[in-house]
């Protein structure tokens, strides 16, 4: 029984389901072919032809539905736009506030820079003018700290030995002589002002060549001392540095740097020198930028 061959029945072909599958595949193939045909025709003649006309007519027929849909959606779109506009307005408001703060800050910075401009212009004018001393080059630096009180007569500048600044280098501003470098660090330096009690500058009256020493006078003002009574010094005379007269004893300051103007001249019977007060041309209390005059030739 087991060895005998068993006649198996033929598999049922499921005729209805097979037909269904055939129909399904036929439908999709036909649809794809029709779509491809439409694409081809439409692509080859996009602006003319029967299909184009049919499409135009169909579009016209669809237009009312589109308009209706748009009108139905309009309130929702308006609401969305309103909410979106609010959100955008808030974001824009925040952005504009930030921008406003930045602009204010920039304005302040610009105003601060503008305030320094006249000094810088004068300084540049001095450096490019005929009175700029030969054999010197200017190292332009900013002032980082100012005299802190009546007992401090120094400035701190933002450059030092790494920029070529050396001790005893004269320091000028756009107005005139400021002082001399008294101490040097790699990236900073201390400037002793003319008003320091240790400052002595050989000077001369530009009008008549009378020589003297500009130093701290009575009452904290500058004075041109050591001027004999027989010389004539007048109020308004310009005082400049006297410079070197003997190569053996070179002066720390080159000739011709403006120091100040004579503000008053006094004479007493008992004194042997004139009492000449000098108003410095440089605003020693609020100078923003200075130039350090560095000799281009090595001094002995």
């Amino acid at each position: 029984m087991l060895a005998s061959s068993v006649q198996r029945s033929k598999p049922t072909p499921y005729p209805s389901k097979a037909r269904s599958a055939l129909i399904r595949r036929t439908v999709v193939v036909v649809l794809v072919l029709v779509a491809l045909t439409l694409v081809t025709i439409s692509f080859r003649s996009p602006t003319a032809g029967a299909l184009h006309d049919v499409q135009g007519a169909g579009s016209t027929a669809l237009r009312p539905f589109q308009i209706a849909a748009t009108r139905v959606a309009q309130p929702f779109r308006d609401a969305y736009d309103y909410v979106d506009g609010l959100a955008s307005a808030k974001a824009e408001n925040k952005r504009l506030k930030l921008q406003n703060e930045e602009l204010r800050r920039d304005t302040l910075i610009a105003a601060a820079k503008l305030a320094k401009y006249p000094d810088l212009e004068k300084l540049l004018h001095f450096e490019q003018g005929p009175t700029f001393p030969n054999d010197y080059r200017a190292v332009n630096v900013g002032v980082t700290s100012y005299p802190g009180g009546p007992f401090q007569h120094t400035l701190t500048i933002s450059a030092g030995s790494s920029s070529g600044i050396r001790r005893n280098s004269p320091v000028v501003s756009g107005g005139g002589l400021v002082g001399i470098v008294s101490n040097v660090f790699p990236d900073t330096a201390i400037v002793m002002l003319l008003t320091d009690s240790q400052s002595f500058v050989a000077a001369r009256d530009l009008r008549n060549g009378v020589r003297g020493i500009v130093q701290l006078g009575a009452g904290g003002t500058l004075a041109l001392s050591q001027v004999p009574k027989q010389f004539s010094v007048k109020e308004g005379d310009e005082i400049v540095t006297d410079g070197t007269h003997s190569a053996r004893y070179p002066d720390l300051y080159p000739y011709g740097i403006p120091i100040g103007r004579v503000s008053s001249v006094g004479v007493t019977d008992t004194a042997i020198f004139l009492q000449v007060q000098v108003q410095p041309l440089a605003n020693l209390g609020s100078v923003d930028a200075v130039a350090v005059l560095v000799p281009t030739k090595q001094r002995r």
């Binding site: 794809v32 779509a35 491809l36 996009p46 669809l62 849909a69």
Partner: protein, 174 residues
């Protein structure tokens, strides 16, 4: 599928196509556009099978191409294939699975966008692949958001039919 079902499906797809062209095509969210028509087609194909999906996709594509005055048949081609494929998935693997609509929408969104990209590229039209790829994830998310309400609406419109009648080629042996 009865005649009434056919009419309901046609109305559903027509309204979805018109709304897509008139309203949804203007909603750009993170560079993507929610595709009401595609989600409606997925719902129809899952509920009514591959033939209904293919025919519905062809019909809806024609409406879109006609309304947009674009290359006629282009959207039809892609939607026909999408409707057929989803219909087959619904007839076989995806039957009675709760996640089927969401999975179908996510997958078909990618295939539909890439399919359109390929067709446009083949035709020599503008095919910004980078923009399409970048908008894929937002498009999937937007379409998934639409899936639950639209599928529920489609189920309400088109009563559920006997699934076995749809599974033409899946036969259990034994």
């Amino acid at each position: 599928m009865t005649l009434l079902d056919g009419v309901k499906a046609a109305v559903l797809l027509f309204v979805a196509a018109v709304a897509q062209v008139s309203i949804f095509s203007q909603l750009h969210v993170f560079g993507a556009v929610p595709d009401l028509l595609l989600v409606s087609l997925v719902a129809l194909a899952l509920l009514r099978g591959s033939v209904a999906g293919a025919v519905g996709g062809f019909f809806a594509g024609l409406v879109v191409d006609t309304a947009n005055l674009g290359t006629l048949g282009l959207t039809s081609l892609v939607l026909t294939l999408a409707g057929y494929w989803i219909g087959r998935y619904g007839e076989t693997t995806g039957r009675d699975r709760a996640h089927a609509p969401f999975l179908s929408v996510a997958v078909v969104t990618v295939l539909y966008e890439l399919g359109l990209l390929v067709v446009h590229f083949v035709l020599g039209e503008s095919a910004p692949a980078g923009a399409v790829v970048r908008s894929l994830v937002p498009a999937i998310v937007l379409n998934l958001i639409l899936t639950a309400p639209l599928y529920a609406l489609a189920r309400r419109l088109l009563r559920v039919v006997d699934r076995d009648a749809l599974t033409a080629e899946v036969q259990l042996l034994g």
